[in-house]
Symmetry: C2
Subunit: 469 residues, 2 copies
């Protein structure tokens, strides 16, 4: 392509080809680093800042200089696919999803209209319909949201707008609106209540049983009291896979309470939704077909790069009822099914569909089952090991993929810190029934039993040295 009609500024597509070569080279180096690196080092902030010189310059730099800087930053970024990264509800890498997401960055579209995003809109539609089938949603619509918190927000908003149809147009009428969630729930529910104009204080925390599952009888009582007091219940948020214990609220019983009082049931399956893909363990979400909406993250248990949060709704038309806004300059052609911008809280929206679709093409439903099977096996292995060890105490047999355990005689906060500083593992702690415990997350199916064994041995070594100090 001739550049002779450029007014002056000149980079261009030929340059991208050269960048692509360097990008690929750096990507290969980073993969090699992952294999060689036996540690997960913690960098001191001050040291890192001065080493990297991250300041944004007045003058530009050469390609080599920029790639050298990028390389340095990426090497100082935690390797989330390392078997030593056990800190979050994500870890590891679904390779096809990563490859597809790299291409997504190159082929940059915005997911509001078919006019602007073409085939990618159909890709997202396939995901909505297929995932809805696993949830038993027969009349589904859906949208990929930027993270599970935002998906929960949308689910809760649909509940709010159904409970009080004038809220969207006129705001609150001053009555007390309420949400219901277990005391083990994710903090995004409180956040969303604040954002939605319902208020954090109006999120009722329902008691949970000794395995962290919402007590449905308590739920019924609290709702009845609230209704008697003139409150407007907006939604119950059932957690499918709590953050700490991996507990699944009893959906059937909760749904029956919701049905009785005509309240929206949103299921927060950000962590636990993928269990629907396992042929036996899908029982954890027994009753999900009675939910009105469901959050299902693919970027946690399914290994897809962040973020990829599917929000499914059981009733077609509800999403647009809560979020639709005319924009004559944007939504110009095509049936509204093809313009998901009408169902999104966003306007410009990144394509988070293609990566999940690519992974699904590679794995098929069966591959996801196998992947989950492996994750469950790892969780079982870890729980067995802990039970048999004299140094630990298992908090409870895991229903899902988090394993919480006490480490005798030490402060686990200090222990986690030491493991991080030494580069042995990035792992977190949590509070279970008043005890500080370690929380191991078995979401990376690439981890081997020897990785876990090494982890436990490292923990014991640290434990011994702390106690004897």
């Amino acid at each position: 392509m001739a550049n002779n009609n450029r007014l002056c500024y000149d980079t261009g597509k030929l340059a991208m080809k050269s960048l692509l070569k360097d990008t690929f080279k750096l990507a290969e180096q980073l993969l090699q680093l992952e294999q060689d690196n036996a540690t997960m080092p913690r960098h001191d902030v001050g040291t890192l800042s001065s080493q990297l010189s991250l300041e944004l310059p007045q003058h530009g730099a050469t390609q080599d200089q920029v790639f050298a800087k990028m390389s340095a930053v990426l090497r100082a970024t935690p390797q989330t696919s390392s078997p030593r990264f056990l800190n979050q509800l994500f870890g590891g890498r679904q390779n096809y999803a990563a490859a597809a997401d790299m291409l997504t960055a190159l082929v940059n579209v915005s997911m509001y209209t078919y006019k602007a995003a073409g085939a990618q809109i159909l890709v997202e539609q396939q995901l909505v319909q297929h995932m809805a089938k696993f949830a038993g949603f027969t009349n589904a619509e859906g949208i990929i949201c930027p993270g599970g918190s935002m998906a929960n927000f949308v689910g809760m908003m649909m509940g709010r707008d159904r409970a009080n149809p004038s809220f969207r147009e006129h705001g609150s009428d001053g009555r007390q609106h309420t949400f219901y969630v277990s005391d083990q729930s994710h903090y995004s529910v409180d956040k969303a209540a604040a954002m939605l104009g319902v208020g954090r204080a109006n999120v009722r925390k329902i008691s949970s049983d000794n395995r962290g599952r919402m007590n449905a009888d308590d739920l019924a009582k609290v709702i009845e009291t609230d209704i008697a007091n003139g409150c407007v219940p907006c939604a119950v948020i059932a957690t499918c896979g709590t953050t700490v214990l991996g507990a699944f609220d009893p959906l059937k019983q909760i749904a029956s309470v919701c049905r009785k009082h005509d309240i929206w049931l949103h299921a927060d399956g950000a962590f636990g939704g993928p269990a629907l893909l396992h042929r036996q363990h899908r029982d954890l979400l027994d009753g999900i077909e009675y939910a009105d909406s469901l959050t299902w993250d693919a970027h946690k248990v399914m290994g897809v790069p962040l973020t990829c949060s599917m929000l499914l709704c059981q009733h077609q038309g509800k999403l647009s009822k809560s979020v639709q806004q005319d924009a004559e300059y944007l939504f110009q052609v095509d049936h509204e099914d093809l313009n998901p911008g009408l169902r999104s809280i966003q306007c410009g929206r990144r394509n988070d569909a293609f990566k999940l679709w690519a992974a699904w093409q590679a794995l098929g439903d069966n591959g996801w089952h196998q992947r989950l099977e492996q994750q469950f096996k790892l969780a079982t292995f870890a729980a067995d090991y802990i039970e048999q060890s004299p140094n630990f105490e298992l908090c409870q047999r895991p229903d899902y993929l988090t394993i919480c355990f006490k480490v005798y005689g030490v402060d686990v906060v200090e222990l986690c810190e030491q493991l991080h500083v030494s580069g042995e593992a990035l792992i977190g702690h949590a509070n279970v029934r008043g005890d500080q415990v370690m929380r191991l997350v078995a979401v990376n199916p690439e981890i081997s039993t020897s990785d876990l064994q090494r982890l436990f041995e490292n923990i014991v070594a640290k434990q011994t040295s702390i106690i004897s100090a």
Copy 2:
């Protein structure tokens, strides 16, 4: 790395190396396609669906099969960096940003804590501080949001929570809360008002002048009436670069109204924020230093892959005041500055910082100025051309990068559709003072004057054929 301790499931990092090769090959092919492709074809939905067979399978597929499928989908995705893609407020590709974003997909972190994201947190901090300097924000904090709509949402929420500090905790007290925005504003303001529990009907649409700028006198009157009637004004949203005309509201006058009544001023610079990087045209945002918060998208005018929306706040501590939520299992170490999850409406958050940082390293402040200079030149070239043509009528000389014009004797909706179907251009239409006009967007600095000339010739040819038909 030995696989002998795997329980069964087996993919692994060696596989990723092989995928990386195929990814790179496909990326090169896609770039070649962009150069060869003289058209921007519209695919019929039905035909496309049946050609691509996008269904999610029960059984997985081989690497070759998956890449063949990915390739087919990507080839049926609009080429947003084509010089014929003129439909949106984004277009073209900042090459370094694209390269960095590809690496981001591989090096997958979540931007809530320094513990989990390391150096990437410092990268985002640099962007916040540097961009704040251009806005004249002296005590800034900020967070990258998933799109301009969400950044506006956060800015408006901070206004709401300042106007009525009990809103976050207890929801609305039933008083009428209000937002103020020009009648040319983006639809995200109405959406956000609905989400925030303020209500769409409580968004006051202030009249604009003949160039699309908010009338500050009208603003003052409407606010005074509202206050007299007991309303609670939450925020004024000034638009810096409207979607259709590219108009900039008069910030100084608006700020003085806000100051008088102690109302939060949010500046929606999703489109126009980058003008701050141009040494002369930064005057368009004269008075921005009086704003309390600012939305500034890097994925529109700056060519960074979607999404990259900076939300800056003038007052440190306000962001966390509106969104912070304790999560003991997550925020375990480090100073809160290093844990941006405390300032985000999201929990898991994609790394949208690295790509902008990489582009900035390559261009420097000066490079951004030059890029904008080129965009302004293209807009001027287009406006001149239209003014001199007997076939068109320019709606107004552009202040910024959108050029609206009438095409004599034809329905522009039909004209846009014909250009799309023929593959000559993807371009949109808009309503300006009751007329349907074409809207040309000069955001892709790679476009040459001959590209624009060809576009105008294509339009005239279609115009002639429609009129003579």
